[in-house]
Symmetry: C2
Subunit: 235 residues, 2 copies
């Protein structure tokens, strides 16, 4: 295996509805002295994607009833509730807190919603960069909680050009024994790696993951990562 | 934020009971041309820790009853069962498949068990390296499934010298709004980043994560990552 590099992409400034994120990110990477290169995976946080796509709505910070209505509108199913924490399933199939409705890092009196289709968002950024002559993969990430473990991790909510899951079943381990099941959630691991340079309290909404194996670059969808409700033992 | 590097540590060879992993890993990193340096986080997979600590037991591959007894002995609670897949809680508080009992990458007719106390395993490696004059953090990892999402990711099962969780609550986001809850599972994200250079089908049982912020280095325990059953909505 080759070494990996994880490079922060800071300095995007405020992102507004309708901006071309691909161009903005390409220029920011140039300005940071780490221009995008073929074979990179560009990791972009949900918040700036939602802003660029106009997925920001008014929501007063002191109106829990309005917040509940918004979370309900963004959900297809409520799994659990504890006080004002709602664990729901979104139309994308994600299970997360408050359907992704998030009032941090947006204008006061507003909330960001998840992109309608973050695979499409990722493809749009990938295609814009392709138009600039740079072939990269793109992963859109958000910060989710988990069952059983404290703390949040970043996971993939959209992918373009990178396998969300790499299936090592049927390959052999180092001692020649066939591995029974080893489907690795590459998309989520790339998201988590990128998060390490994108601390929540800093203005770094994107990162470059450089050095991923060439065989992981293929057409893909975040749907690979979404477990169907019928296969899930915890829903 | 500084860039991160994730460097594979290959070439350990077969690990046997009683070997001093710290020395072995230090030498392997040297041989790979990427010697350990102060401020590194050394990430070590569970399998070689279990082998070094003698946590490998006989288990025929065609004896499901013996396997079930072993899983039961390694568990304090069964959460779900589907056929021969058991989701249990281990004495450490981890929720994972088959209590971590794993027959891949061990001698035929054997199974590896989780280390009894992987925080202690991590401290032992950290202290051995300290004895060699190198001050690093150590994270022991294993590959776990999750609720709701397909695919496995590596997570921390033991830590020494690195915050398992970084609490950004009370700090401000880029727009000055106070962040309500942002406890980031740094230990798990470091584990996932390392896994990207430690593919299951290759003989790379460790990696160096270089460039983590200095303020994340502190005494810690994987217990920070273990959600208490009473706080868990999915148990």
């Amino acid at each position: 295996m080759e070494p990996l590099q994880v490079l922060p992409v800071p300095g995007l400034g405020e992102v507004t509805t309708g901006v071309e994120l691909g161009a903005l990110l390409d220029d920011a990477a140039d300005a940071a002295g780490t221009p995008l290169a073929a074979g990179d995976c560009l990791v972009v946080t949900q918040k700036i994607v939602s802003k660029a796509e106009g997925r920001v709505v008014p929501l007063a910070s002191d109106d829990p009833a309005a917040r509940r209505r918004l979370i309900e509108a963004e959900s297809v199913r409520l799994l659990r509730r504890r006080d004002e924490l709602f664990i729901t399933q979104t139309p994308h199939g994600f299970v997360c807190a408050n359907a992704g409705v998030d009032q941090s890092n947006v204008d006061p009196g507003h909330a960001a919603l998840l992109p309608l289709d973050a695979d499409r968002s990722a493809r749009r950024i990938r295609d814009a960069l392709r138009g600039r002559g740079i072939e990269v993969a793109v992963v859109i990430t958000d910060t989710f909680g988990r069952a059983w473990r404290n703390g949040l991790t970043d996971v993939a909510i959209g992918v373009a050009g990178l396998a969300a899951i790499v299936d090592l079943r049927g390959t052999s381990d180092a001692s020649g024994r066939e591995l029974a099941v080893t489907e690795v959630a590459i998309g989520d691991e790339v998201a988590s790696a990128a998060e390490l340079v994108m601390g929540k309290d800093r203005d770094v909404p994107a990162a470059i993951v450089r050095g991923l194996p060439g065989e992981w670059f293929r057409e893909s969808s975040v749907r690979e990562l979404v477990r169907a409700a019928r296969d899930d033992l915890f829903r």
